[in-house]
Amino acid sequence: MSMKKNYVVETIRKAQMLELLNRGKRVDERALDQHREITVQTGVIQKANGSAIVTLGDSQVLAGVKIATGAPFPDTPDKGLLVVNAEILPLASPYAEPGPPSEEAIELARVVDRGIRESEMVDLHKLCIVEGKTVYTVFVDVNIMNVDGNLFDATSYAVVCALRTAKMKKYAIENDKVVMKDEETPVPVEKTPVSVTLARFGDKLVVDPNGEEEGAMDMRITITTDDDGNVCASQKGEASTITPAQVLEAADTSIRIGREIRAQLVEATKS
């Protein structure tokens, strides 16, 4: 049996897609700047400090947060650790294989990590316990449970929701030793970054491409914005190019759509 590498979109289907786009429509009847329905479930893993299952259309992502203590990096002695890791489960898609994280999964984790980090969502200074010695380490592990395009945004929302609801143990310093207490405190979340991915087809940009659209798009751009509408991270993918005007258009759309999504994520993770 031959190995399937990627989803191949039928030529006639692609032609139909482009034809529809020229009339301002999409194959799944969404508007160009409309994202698929987002659902959020938090606290799904009891043993994790925080967790969330997010669905974006048929894409489904599970994020879990584990918070422990450890030594800081030597160059940032006063900051806690925050690491995002992603894996695509073999059951999630016919094209996913078991084994170490694929290139796509690594890019996914890095793009999501960058959005969280550069927006300064979590105040890493507040995760410092003893400078240079002990800090909180926050590991966010993401499992992709179903793939139907735009994993960047689905994963980002799952990580944001898991972090917003995560609780960590309080600590006390007794005889120069860090002792963890039973009481819990929320992770110091300052902002809610929202990532919005757009796919380019010719001169059209569409928000939140589904699996089929991802198979046919020319390129994609992921832009993460914070509560104040600042762009804090972005990533371009696929071989094709994008014009400066389109980048600005993408940023504007991302800020606008991001606002709606942020409101929903905040609402879903209210304590």
Binding site: S2, V8, V9, T11, I12, Q16
Partner: protein, 228 residues
């Protein structure tokens, strides 16, 4: 005419006992014939049969299928036929006996992503099904709308001796090509295509009992594009 008994079964149900010939999705345990799928079981003079209500497409020789080219290698095209098996269309079936990988460019005939109609030449489960495009109506579909439906609903879309599919074609003015594997390609005027697509989806989703034809007729109503 001998009576054919039909009944709905779920996996594990005993369809019949005794000595019969039996088809796919049925297992013989002792002298009991046990259903392996949800479906409609038939006990008739030809033996015990089970038409599953759900399930993937399992290739059979002589089936007409519609697939998409997903890969090209030196000897032919790998075709996704909406099944757990990939179809393989050998280049020698297309270019003839004198085919040589050195002189023939396979992608000049079919490219990755092309949708083709083909016939299953042979399939024995030990190898991927082999396809052929020899004959009328096979080969690349240059345009049209592609719809995937449940392969088990294909007989309903085709209807008795093609009655249903002909009716839809006639009323919508579209050419409706149906692959046994549940892939449908519709070509025709835009408004007809939208209607035909909706009908195909309706048949796919529906658990309509009798008189599916009546429902389709009602849906397509007097708004015949072909002026029928």
């Amino acid at each position: 005419m001998p009576m054919v008994q039909r009944k709905q079964v779920i996996p594990g149900d005993v369809i019949a006992t005794g000595n019969h010939r039996y088809g796919s999705y049925i297992e013989k345990r002792g002298d009991e014939y046990v259903a392996l799928r949800i479906g409609l079981a038939e006990v008739g003079p030809d033996g015990v049969k089970l038409n599953p209500l759900t399930g993937p497409y399992l290739p059979r020789a002589e089936d007409q299928v519609i697939g998409k080219v997903v890969d090209i290698n030196g000897f032919g095209w790998v075709v996704d036929i909406n099944s757990c098996f990939d179809g393989f269309l050998p280049a020698s079936f297309v270019f003839g006996r004198e085919f040589s990988p050195a002189t023939h460019d396979l992608s000049s005939k079919f490219k990755v992503g092309d949708v083709i109609g083909a016939r299953i030449e042979s399939f024995d489960r030990s190898r991927d099904p082999q396809l052929s495009i020899r004959g009328e109506g096979y080969g690349k579909f240059p345009e049209g709308e592609i719809i995937k439906m449940s392969p088990t609903k294909v007989p309903r879309l085709i209807g008795r001796r093609g009655a249903m599919v002909n009716f839809i074609s006639e009323r919508t003015g579209c050419d409706v090509k149906v692959g046994q594997n549940g892939v449908v390609v519709i070509v025709g005027p835009p408004e007809g295509m939208a209607k035909a697509t909706a009908v195909v989806k309706m048949i796919d989703q529906g658990t309509h009992g009798a008189d599916l034809m009546g429902k389709v007729e009602e849906y397509l109503g007097g708004s015949s594009v072909a002026g029928a």
